[in-house]
Every structure is written in C-alpha cells, then in structure tokens.
C-alpha cells in the first residue's frame, strides 16, 4: 500500500489530528481532497520536479535548478525553480475562480470569472524569462539574508494568457494610475488570515506592455499548482516576485503599491551604491525593476574531463531584463582574453537567447570556462560580485564551469 492510498483511507478529521491542528472548513472540502501539507510529502513527486533539483527550504517551498538542468530552450516544469513566500493555497478551484480589478485608479471596479477572462480577451503566448531577484545571493560577502540561491532561480517557459492591458482597457483606468499591485490566495506562514505573504506589482507602464500577461497556461498546459494555478501575473524580465501567483485581485493604484514586500529591504537595493556590509536607511532604498544582463553555461556540466585532441562544445542562455543581449563571449584564461560565441535572437521580446561556441584547448591542464554577456546598451556582466546590497539581489557575475583537459 503506498502512502497516497494510505492517506486516502483516512478521514479529514483523523488527518487534522495528525497535523496537530484543526483543518478549517474541512466540512466544505471536496470529497477526496487532501490538504497540501499531507499530500505526497516528497516535493519532487508533489511538484513534478526532477530529483536533481535542490530544496533550499520546505516551509515555504523554495527549490532551485542547477545550471546543467537548464539546458532546454524552453524550460519544462521539472526544471523550473519554485520561490514561494507563503503557503500554497489549500483549495484552488479554477471553476469558481474570480479576478477582481479595483483600486483608486480604476473607473469601475469589476469582477471577472476565469471563464470570462478566457472568453472575452484575445490569448497570447510569449516565452518569458523569470529570474528571482535573489538568484546568486549565496555568493555575497558579507552574507545576505534569505534563501541562499546559487544560479538556478531562473526559467524561461512559454506562458499563455490574456494581456493585462486589454483588461485594464475594459475596466477603464484613470489618468493618475501609477502602479498595479496584486493580491493572491496564498496564506501567511504565521497563519494570520489578515496578513498577505507577498503583494507586489509593477508600474503602470510595465503593466501596459504587450508581453505582460495574466496567464492561465504554462508550456501549453494549465499552470502547475506551485507556479500559480489557475492565474498568474507574468512580467518577464523583472524580478520574478513581480509575477504574482494565484492572483485573485489586481489593484490599480494612484501611488506606488504598498503591499507586503514592497518596502524595507525586500526586492529593493540601495539607490546609491554602498560599501559591503553597510547599513542603509529605508529612504535610501529603491525598488528593483528590470533585471541586469546575465548568462548561464548550461552544457557541459561543471567538472568535465576531456581529451586534448577533442574540441568542447559549450552552450547556454543569456538574458538582459527589458533589454536584448547584444553578444556573448567566453574566456578560458580567467578573463585575460575573450572569444565571441554564436548568439541567437530572442524568439520574442523578454525571452532568453541561446549561445554556443566550440573551444579548442591549447594544452593539458585545469581550465575555467567563463561566459560574459553584453546588453544592447553596451553593459556587460562583471567577473566578480557586483555591488553589495543588504538582501543580496542582482548578482549577475559571470558564470563559470570547471574543465580539465587530460
């Protein structure tokens, strides 16, 4: 008898005994429904993730990929990182799901069912890069607080949905609209029903972009539960926290949205650069918008041993927030000299681009292959850690893999 069947033979009341807590509205839960805490507790099975993904945190769930797992041009769910701030909603019913559009700057508050959204507005699909603002945090010195992401909190999947701008046009937005803030169905870790785990958003200009979607599909299927089923705001090129999951309400604000994790040191960096370890006053912190230029060598996996007479094919992806990547170079001599990689154009704006190169090593020895991308404004990735900030955001230092030629 497997665990899942074992659990299904128990009643909800028994389960709440096991959990040590009362399951609220247990009587309203659909027959056969299990609270997520008690569903298959193996996160890889629970979220359909590859076993080589790394669990950084299990309450809330934070799981990252490794560089070599991200080799696909379109990231499949099994290799997509999970960054949650709160608890995944206990009940998600797409049939009864509604989206409220409210806020100081809407002409008329309006509620749409998910079905209405799908029927009323044209569908679009874009491949969009989502990178956690804290990707690379583990390298900062002095260390920065939070989940210690290495390189794997980035993905580029196909997202299908309706344009937020079409919905905003339908409700009518006043001239003073400044920001769109999201509210979602996830719950606070403390269990306090009056607290939101996270409620961020984007300025109205980003909300009005063609690629900013309210998505209901990822890679052609309903969005997986951990990635925001049934409705996710997707704002490619910005810290992935701007792309709220399990969206139930969007507020069109006449000021910068003031929801949870919009202030303090959350997703904000010093407006002016500071020395490592500095204390920074709240007023001197600015919200992160477009993510910086970055690249990742996704093949081969670091640690490859190759024969001297063999050439090495490397490939990977590069992205640059709102901008396009102009070129990618590689170095095998610790940055002393650089060679150009072949770089593809993005399939659409805000999608990552693919690069490759064939390397011939001059003699035996230990090598590091470094990759460096440059964006359309001529800005490149740094070789060492970029500017320190209290929460360790925006580490776009060049990615390196180790190779031995034998």
């Amino acid at each position: 008898m497997n665990r899942r069947k074992f659990a299904s033979n128990l009643s909800l009341a028994t389960l709440s005994g096991l959990l040590g807590t009362r399951i609220v509205f247990a009587n309203k839960a659909p027959n056969g429904y299990l609270p997520i805490a008690l569903q298959d507790p193996d996160p890889f099975a629970l979220f359909n993730k590859d076993k080589r993904m790394v669990v950084l945190n299990d309450k809330p769930w934070n799981i990252e990929a490794k560089a070599h797992l991200l080799n696909d041009k379109v990231t499949p769910n099994k290799y997509m990182f999970i960054r949650n701030n709160g608890r995944i909603p206990d009940t998600i019913d797409a049939k009864s799901w509604t989206l409220v559009i409210d806020g100081e700057s809407v002409k008329n508050q309006k509620t749409y069912t998910l079905r209405e959204l799908k029927a009323k507005f044209k569908h679009y699909t874009y491949q969009l890069t989502l990178e956690c603002g804290g990707n690379g945090r583990s390298e900062f010195n002095p260390p920065a607080k939070g989940n210690q992401w290495t390189v794997g909190a980035v993905s580029c999947a196909n997202w299908t949905g309706v344009r937020l701008r079409d919905i905003l046009a339908d409700v009518g937005v006043k001239n003073d609209a400044m920001y769109v803030g999201y509210h979602a169905a996830d719950t606070h870790l403390s269990g306090d029903p009056n607290k939101e785990p996270i409620s961020r958003g984007v300025p109205i200009a980003k909300a009005q972009q063609e690629e900013t979607l309210l998505a209901f599909q990822m890679n052609g299927e309903d969005i997986p539960i951990a990635h925001g089923s049934p409705l996710r705001l997707v704002c490619g090129g910005w810290p992935a926290s701007a792309s709220g999951k399990w969206i139930s309400r969007l507020s069109v604000r006449n000021k910068v949205h003031d929801g949870a994790k919009m202030g303090g040191s959350s997703y904000r960096v010093p407006c002016e650069t500071v020395a490592p370890g500095s204390k920074v006053a709240e007023d001197d912190m600015c919200i992160i918008e477009s993510m910086p230029v970055k690249s990742l060598i996704t093949y081969p996996k670091s640690g490859a041993l190759i024969k001297l007479d063999k050439s090495l094919l490397i490939n990977g992806h590069a992205w640059a927030g709102e901008l396009e990547v102009h070129n990618v170079e590689y170095s095998i001599d610790f940055g002393s000299s650089w060679s150009t990689c072949t770089l593809e154009k993005p399939i659409n704006r805000l999608a990552w681009q693919h690069f490759k190169a064939v390397i011939n090593f001059p003699k035996k020895g230990y090598y590091e292959v470094w990759a460096r991308a440059t964006d359309s404004k001529g800005i490149s990735q740094p070789m060492v850690l970029p500017g320190w900030n209290p929460k360790g955001y925006l580490n776009n230092a060049c990615h390196r893999i180790a190779v031995k030629v034998v």
Binding site: P41, L56, N141, P300, A304, E368
Partner: protein, 151 residues
C-alpha cells in the same frame, strides 16, 4: 443464521485486517526510523514527523530532525524559530549578532514573531556562534563535486 454470521465475519475481517496492517506499518515505521535516523533528514516524512515529536536524535553534533548544530540554547531556537518557517531558512543563513538581531526585529515587526523576552539574547548567541558570517571574498573557487569523463 450461519449465512448471516458468515456475512458478518466477512464484513468485519477487512477492517480488522486493515487495522492490523496499519498498526504494523506504524510500529514498523517507528522501529525503522529509530534505527535509521537519517531518514528524517529527507522531506518525505511529514506524516511520520508528527509521531516523532520529542525525538532528539543527535548525530555528529547535528540535531537530525531540524539540521541544527547541537549547542547550548538549541531547544530555544527550535521552539521559537521553526513554528512558522522551516529550520532550513535558518541553517542556510550566516549572520553576525547584529544581523540576527535585526532579522528577529524584522520578523517581529512584519511577520508576527512573538516577543522573545529574556530568551532573545540566548537565541542570538546561539545563532551568531553557530551560524556566523563566513568570509568568502569577492569570488570563491569553483567547487567541483564530481569530475566526470565527457564523451
């Protein structure tokens, strides 16, 4: 009559068997966990864990259930720092006394952490000692977990 009895017997035998199997599974599981404490490090044991409260297995100076370094005041840290979030959120971080204090203050101001009273100093002492900052410089060496032959 006999038929009826037989029917009852048949009706009863399944739940009784199921009950026995469950008891067997439960005690078998406990016995297994007792002798293979490392199993608790995996996240696959959410259900088992609820039976295991009070399990205080320490291996190589590490508290198996949470991953915390065994030291004075560890129990206070477990009691106060793992009820909302995973112990993993603590153990993957490294901060100075000042940093841990600021983190506690942030959690009290924004995340519903309760007042820690006289335990606060003890908790901060434990955290800063066992999870203090490591000097990493501006870029570390690449750590290769496993060299492999690339075909």
């Amino acid at each position: 009559m006999d038929d009826n009895l037989e029917k009852h017997r048949k009706q009863l035998i399944r739940p009784i068997l199921l009950f026995l199997v469950l008891i067997l599974l439960l005690f078998g599981g406990l016995f297994y966990v007792k002798h293979n404490p490392k199993i608790l490090q995996s996240t696959e044991t959410v259900v088992t864990k609820s039976f295991e409260e009070g399990e205080e297995e320490i291996v190589d100076g590490i508290h198996i259930e949470t991953g915390f370094v065994e030291d004075e005041h560890m129990q206070l840290v477990i009691q106060n720092c793992t009820s909302c979030h995973s112990a993993k959120l603590v153990t993957q971080n490294h901060m100075s006394e000042e940093g841990w204090k600021a983190t506690i203050k942030w959690m009290q101001e924004t995340q519903n952490l309760w007042g820690l009273g006289e335990n606060e100093t003890k908790i901060i002492t434990y955290l800063a000692k066992n999870y203090g900052p490591e000097t990493k410089g501006r870029r570390e060496n690449i750590e290769v977990i496993e060299w492999y032959e690339l075909k």
